[in-house]
């Protein structure tokens, strides 16, 4: 560990906790995301289970000190299994008055508030819309909480008095390191991983590097030497299944899953995309891995992103395009082309609040209907979703497998909550990943006089013949095809045949995916909570809680939205009531009712934030 004073005052005690939810909140320029991520990595490395929830404004730099400018990072860590970032916080770090005002309602009674007192001057109070003369630090409104006051700004500047080259602005930029150092002290942590991180980030700028380390240590030492803080805390390792772990975020897991699929299939990968929140990080990530042969193309718009990927797929690459709701709308016509061409293509939608531009940085599950039905004509495509940050890895890997082995575009749904959330991940070994069988047609078969691009195998899959293959020259396009030959054809019977074939081909994928499992609870019973996507953690922890109280409730979580697993109908009918919680106005529930004639009940929250465990427990209880 780096040099840290070790003269513990006599009255110090260290307490062991099972479970902590902490939220770092400050101005969007205060570096709260970085602080949260650093504390997350430090926590993960100790084998403590965790889940995170970054919550930041759409504006890069909203007016400083204002309520819309507040950026938050919530982390739930525990020696027990963690499924959600936590409903309410035990600890709130508030860098200014606005951060306190926005977040205090999510704090548990008796919770701790660590405030930067400098962020509560007259100007900050006014910007946070406190009435003239009202200061929450002085008016008793926080009496229900334990408030720890630290003048972070002053202490940061003081600790940097030996850095004459740094201006006040530059010094103040290190405030978050003071807080991080203090929190490290509070939770009995080492500073090592953050110092390594700072060295990598500022290695060439010695002054910035040294000042950040200095402030980080100052924060730690402040906790250590100031006698006001009498308790330190420790959270023990979680009992997770044995193996090697790392921390991973959803978009990062998605990138890794794509790279793994490219490696295992032996096909080159091409990402054609246009930046959009919250999907852009996939582009940022994949563009780093050129030595894996990944080609990334930042196109001029969403349409060029997907159509360039179609061009790449036509040439034999795994074509990928990434976007979020509004971009998905723009790509619609091209998705129809991919369905007609029957070529592999991965369309990733990291959902956000809609409609239109909606809530760019907030999460929602409101594009399921769009994925299902949002194209002209009869245009079926498989739909697959991820349920947690690390699940993005295996879910996208499966999406690529289906796309290639079934020669079809696939829609993959993630959302802002999963994309930016982090959790420990027992990462796989490449040798253990399932195979992806990609095969091109390379020559005419025995007795074949001419290549028939729309001839099909038992899975109704057509052969993939790529340009450059001698003797297999052929033309494909968006006009209706004649069955087998692929020639343009407008005959009535042929169109009906082709529409039915395209549908059956997608339906038949149900024969090549696993059956639906019950995640927890019995196979039969009173209430089944059926979820998809990022509601996984909340549903699981709510159902586990109710099971522990002896209720008859089960949880099933769908990875495959289209086609559904073959046994889903049977599962649904094994329960008296089916509840479908979603972060939308009721989408999966409509599809379930439509396909299975089951009177499924919706539970909806459309606030741009995840459903909490507490809310769900209450909602499920009403049905029990």
């Amino acid at each position: 560990m780096a040099a840290v004073k070790k003269n513990l005052p006599m009255n110090r005690r260290e307490e062991t906790l099972q479970d902590v939810v902490i939220k770092f909140a400050g101005d969007s320029g205060d570096g709260m995301q970085l602080t949260g991520q650093q504390f997350t990595n430090n926590t993960a490395m100790l084998g403590i289970d965790l889940a995170t929830f970054p919550d930041f404004p759409a504006e890069i730099r909203a007016p400083q000190g204002t309520l819309p400018g507040v950026s938050g990072f919530q982390l739930h860590f525990s020696s027990d299994k963690v499924y959600t970032p936590g409903d309410l916080c035990d600890v709130l770090v508030a860098m200014n008055a606005a951060a306190l005002k926005v977040n205090v309602k999510t704090l548990k009674p008796g919770g701790k508030i660590i405030v930067n007192t400098d962020g509560f001057d007259a100007k900050n109070l006014r910007l946070a819309n406190f009435p003239e003369g009202v200061n929450p630090l002085e008016d008793g409104s926080l009496d229900a909480y334990e408030v720890m006051r630290i003048d972070v700004t002053k202490l940061t500047r003081e600790s940097l008095k030996d850095f004459p080259d740094l201006g006040i602005k530059e010094k103040d930029r290190a405030k978050n390191m003071f807080v991080l150092g203090f929190i490290y002290w509070m939770y009995s942590r080492s500073l090592d991983n953050t110092i390594t991180f700072l060295k990598e980030k500022f290695g060439k700028k010695a002054n910035i590097l040294d000042s950040n380390i200095k402030v980080l240590q100052a924060g730690y030492n402040y906790g250590d030497t100031t006698e006001t803080f009498t308790s330190r805390y420790r959270v023990e390792k979680a009992k997770m299944s044995p193996g090697n772990y790392r921390s991973i975020m959803g978009n990062q897991a998605l990138s890794f899953g794509l790279i793994a699929a490219a490696q295992k299939s032996g096909l080159p990968m091409f990402l054609g995309t246009y930046p959009i929140t919250p999907a852009s990080d996939i582009l940022h990530d994949l563009s780093k891995y050129k030595n894996f042969g990944i080609r990334t193309f930042q196109a001029e718009d969403e349409i060029a992103g997907i159509t360039a990927s179609i061009g790449a797929a036509y040439g034999g690459s795994i074509g990928v395009t990434t976007t979020s709701g509004p971009g998905m709308a723009l790509k619609t016509e091209a998705m129809g082309l991919a369905v007609m061409l029957e070529i592999p293509l991965i369309i990733i939608n990291v959902q956000r609040g809609g409609p239109s531009t909606g809530l760019p940085t907030k999460t929602e599950q409101s594009d399921l209907m769009q994925a299902y039905y949002g194209r002209n004509g009869e245009c079926p495509m498989p739909v697959i979703s991820a349920s947690t940050p690390s699940d993005c890895f295996s879910a996208i890997y499966e999406a690529v497998r289906i796309s290639i082995e079934h020669m079809t575009p696939v829609i993959f749904l993630s959302d802002g909550y999963i994309a930016n959330g982090a959790e420990p991940w027992k990462y796989p070994q490449s040798a253990d990943l399932p195979p992806i069988n990609a095969k091109f047609k390379t020559e005419l078969g025995d007795g074949e006089l001419k290549y028939q691009p729309y001839i099909r195998d038992e899975k109704l899959v057509r052969p993939w013949a790529v340009p450059g293959t001698k003797g297999l020259e052929h033309r494909i396009g968006g006009l209706e095809k004649q069955n087998i030959t692929g020639n343009v054809n407008y005959e009535p019977e042929n169109h009906q045949t082709m529409v039915k074939i395209r549908q059956e081909k997608v339906d038949m994928i149900a024969n090549y995916i696993p059956e639906q499992q019950i995640d927890c609870g019995a196979e039969k019973g009173k209430v089944l909570v059926l979820g998809w996507g990022s509601t996984y953690g909340a549903i699981r922890s709510a159902v586990l809680h109710l099971l522990s109280e002896g209720y008859e409730v089960s949880h099933a979580h769908l990875r495959y939205q289209r086609p559904f697993p073959k046994n889903l109908g049977t599962i649904l009918r094994n329960f008296e009531t089916v509840l479908v919680p979603e972060i939308n106005n009721g989408q999966l529930v409509k599809i379930i009712r439509d396909q299975y004639l089951v009177d499924a009940k919706p539970y909806n929250k459309i606030m741009g934030i995840p459903i909490t465990r507490t809310e769900l427990i209450e909602a499920i209880r009403k049905l029990l």
Binding site: F256, V466, R475, I476
Partner: protein, 346 residues
């Protein structure tokens, strides 16, 4: 990468080898027939294996083209052929990629992709069949239709100012800019071959007559009686000369081109000598876009306006990949998945 069958001794092909069994369905008399014939004629001479040729089109009359070419081909969606071709070329640089598009497809709905394809400089051949009308949707004005044009959608005359396609292409930093016409098969063949030979994005505008909805739009440049005075054929290193007896020329006076009479004591040595590499001259040439009915107008140039080599996108992309591999070694999946901060639970 995908292996391509590049046999060293390719059998000699003819134009017929490039035609398909599909019935050509353009209106009788359409200029597209000539363009198809010229493309089929030059293909055997390019020394590119047939299986390495890909024709990508968008939507419009011209975009039926791939169905009639016995190569690889894709009839994609409206305006996006350029983007499809970009993805294909980025991943398969060894293919000879030809884009077939019309004035609506490439300058209206697909205008965005057109300029970006040109600035990125993919090594593709981009043919724009310009007939100054929407044919497939039966006769609305296009972004190249002249102002005042009366069409189905402009009964009182179009108020849209038209694009000057070559000026637009030059503005997007196209590395090859040329113009030809359906009614001059020889010239068109030359321009097609030049497009192919250029390494980079070749923008070839082809004046194409739509005899149903816009018949005679380019008659003044194509008819025997007016062609010599209205069309100016550019040749690298040669003076700009036109007229029935080659009696007129264009000279540079200060910053501006002027038309001069060669019988008036002006010799060919005084004229503007065409230089395909000169972007300043190219900027003047693309601006010779006058309405032929205006007194004292410039003739319309045909030929290669500009040609210069610069890095092609797919080459730079490939180079970055190779450099990354040279620097870091080929990607190690297990190392990637493991990352740097790992802990073990026992």
């Amino acid at each position: 990468m995908i292996e391509t069958a590049n046999s060293p001794v390719a059998p000699v092909l003819t134009a017929k080898d490039f035609s398909t069994d599909q019935e050509v369905r353009w209106c009788p008399g359409c200029g597209d027939y000539s363009i198809l014939a010229q493309v089929q004629k030059i293909m055997p001479g390019l020394n590119v294996p047939k299986e390495n040729i890909v024709i990508i089109s968008g939507i419009g009359c011209s975009s039926r083209f791939p169905y009639y070419m016995n190569t690889y081909g894709m009839h994609s969606i409206h305006g996006r052929a350029t983007a499809v071709a970009s993805g294909l070329k980025a991943t398969r640089p060894e293919l000879s990629v030809w884009i077939v598009s019309g004035d609506g497809d490439s300058l209206s709905i697909g205008g965005n992709h057109t300029i970006h394809l040109l600035r990125r400089n993919f090594d593709v051949n981009f043919m724009v069949f310009n007939n100054q009308i929407y044919g497939l949707t039966k006769g609305q004005y296009s972004p190249t239709s002249e102002q005042q044009k009366v069409t189905k959608s402009t009964p009182f005359g179009s108020i849209d100012h038209p694009f000057n396609p070559l000026a637009l292409a030059l503005g997007a930093d196209a590395s090859f800019i040329a113009r030809s016409m359906d009614r001059d098969p020889k010239h068109l063949q030359q321009m097609l071959v030049r497009s192919h030979l250029h390494r980079g994005a070749s923008f070839l505008e082809i004046y194409q007559n739509c005899n149903i909805f816009n018949d005679g739009a380019f008659e003044i440049f194509t008819e025997k009686s007016t062609k010599p005075t209205e069309a100016l054929f550019l040749e690298h290193g040669q003076p700009l000369v036109f007229g029935a007896q080659q009696e007129k020329g264009i000279k540079i006076d200060g910053m501006r081109p002027v038309i001069v009479d060669l019988n008036n004591g002006v010799s060919k040595d005084d004229l503007w000598i065409h230089d395909e590499k000169d972007i300043y001259k190219a900027q003047s040439l693309v601006r010779m876009f006058d309405d032929p009915s205006v007194e004292g107008h410039f003739p319309r140039p045909f030929g290669v306006f500009y040609q210069n080599e610069r890095a092609c996108y797919e080459d730079s992309m490939k180079m970055q990949l190779e450099e990354a591999i040279a620097l870091k070694g080929p990607g190690d999946l297990d190392k990637l998945l493991r990352g740097r901060e790992v802990w073990e639970i026992v």
